[in-house]
């Protein structure tokens, strides 16, 4: 399946992808209205450590430990390979947050639920908005092989 990959050496650490993610998932068409003056809760997070910057989001693991660990069956891996969360079923125990080795499931700001990247299939963007707007091509959306 197509997944998001990061090119660490190209990342400027501008955090634009975080804003684009928050915008894409806000459900509001006007970007200024969606973001201005608000705390944002993006599902992609940029790490900064000195000269090194890179974005982290869900890897849509082949054998996702979050799906196996969910206490309510709220996490699923679809035929399309996308790992999704059924919000209505989630009770917010955060077991998935504890098991994801990437730190890619986040507690939702309103509590009672977790949130994660669903490759923008759950909003009107249809394809990853972070990738589309990265000014330096540091996040890409493509097919790659597992390297064994």
């Amino acid at each position: 399946m197509k997944r998001i990959y990061v090119k660490e050496q190209w990342c400027l650490g501008c955090h634009l992808c975080e804003y684009e993610c928050a915008y894409a998932n806000s459900g509001i068409a006007d970007m200024a209205r969606a973001l201005k003056g608000k705390a944002i809760y993006p599902r992609v997070r940029v790490e900064d450590a000195g000269e090194v910057h890179f974005a982290v989001n869900c890897r849509h693991c082949t054998d996702p430990v979050c799906v196996q660990s969910c206490i309510s069956g709220a996490l699923t891996k679809g035929e399309d390979g996308i790992v999704r969360i059924v919000k209505q079923k989630c009770v917010g125990c955060l077991t998935c947050v504890l098991v994801c080795p990437y730190g890619a499931v986040l507690p939702s700001p309103e509590g009672h639920a977790a949130m994660k990247c669903q490759l923008c299939t759950d909003n009107r963007m249809g394809e990853p908005n972070c990738v589309k707007h990265c000014p330096n091509g540091a996040i890409v959306y493509e097919e790659r092989e597992a390297m064994q």
Binding site: A49, V52, V97, E145, A146
Partner: protein, 412 residues
Amino acid sequence: MKNYPYVILGGSIAAVAAIEGIRSEDRKGGILVVSEEPCKAYGRPLISYYLLGETDLPRMDYRPEAFYEENHVMLRLGVRAESIDPEEKTVTLSDGEKLGYEKLLVATGSRPFDPPMEGIEHVEERFHFMTKADALALDKALSPEKKVLIVGAGLIGLKCFEGIAARVKSARIVDMADRILPAILDETGAKMVQSALEARGAEFFLSDSVLRFEGNTAHLKSGKTVEFDLLVIAVGVRPNTELIKEAGGTVRRGIAVDECGKTSLPDIFAAGDCAESFDIASGTSKVLALLPNAAFQGRAAGGNMAGGKANLDNAVTFNSIGFFGTHVMTAGVYEGELYCERTERTYKALFTKDGLLKGFILINLPERAGIYLKLLKERIPLSAVDFEALKTSPAWSAFSPEARADNFAREV
């Protein structure tokens, strides 16, 4: 007599994971699930959320409606497996039917343990808190005039308190241990969670126990007495191992299994709360009694029953649980050197030994906790990462560029 390629005894978390495991190797072979509980699998930990009104029966289903049909699973619900004959390769059920298996999985979980307490049989409104049926019965019995006594301040007793706190007059909780959640928290952590629970009306009697009941009065060891209307017993659980034991298989505290999930009996596997796991943090085999572990074991055992080669030799205890918005994450063992951070609302304790992360406690610090669990579970030498940076905040920038490339530039 009917014969099935796969028979699973118990129909809960480990059983569902085993169905998925079997189907990852074998699309066709018929699977029969025998479950004493008269319903399809549900998220067992959700019963407290049900009482809280944060979920409902349909949403508690562990898998979608179509799951069993799509996976060609036959269900015998409300029927108990009474015995296994490992030579004949048959199981006898409570309705008298005998059926044959090629591969058998015992996924019978655990049951509540009742410590001896004199006079308990005369307590009328007496509950356990393990099943959907228990939750539905409690739901009916709760009312704003009632005083509740919960015996046991472990995970199940306290989750029960969370579920009922707003719906009863008062709730008192007795435990023999000197702190709440003794199995997963140290003193500092336990105190923090205790205050959060007390703020919601919990009254604790610690280092104490019920000696006897006299009608609806509990006489405690300390000499105190507690009046109540409704009693919940949540002292602990015991693995359901009898089927294997009586069939001649090796049973210690739980059913002994190898890293493939096999018991000592041919073609019989076991998974979940009835079975032991090899816990890497303590280096011993033990019953972990946690949902993710039941899923991992069930998945591996199911795959192996169908000819796969899954290996499970890296179990760890870990737990994420919340009480009224106070989030507690714990893992591993609390041995070795301690790194500690504490604020009024948060607590972080990291335990390191022999250059490895051995255990941790995180209260109200959920963000990216999985990075700590990865260090622990994969036994990553702390010399290979920037542990000084990781102590304060879990992040991938503390890993080597090679490790990052391995994880972020390829499929995982």
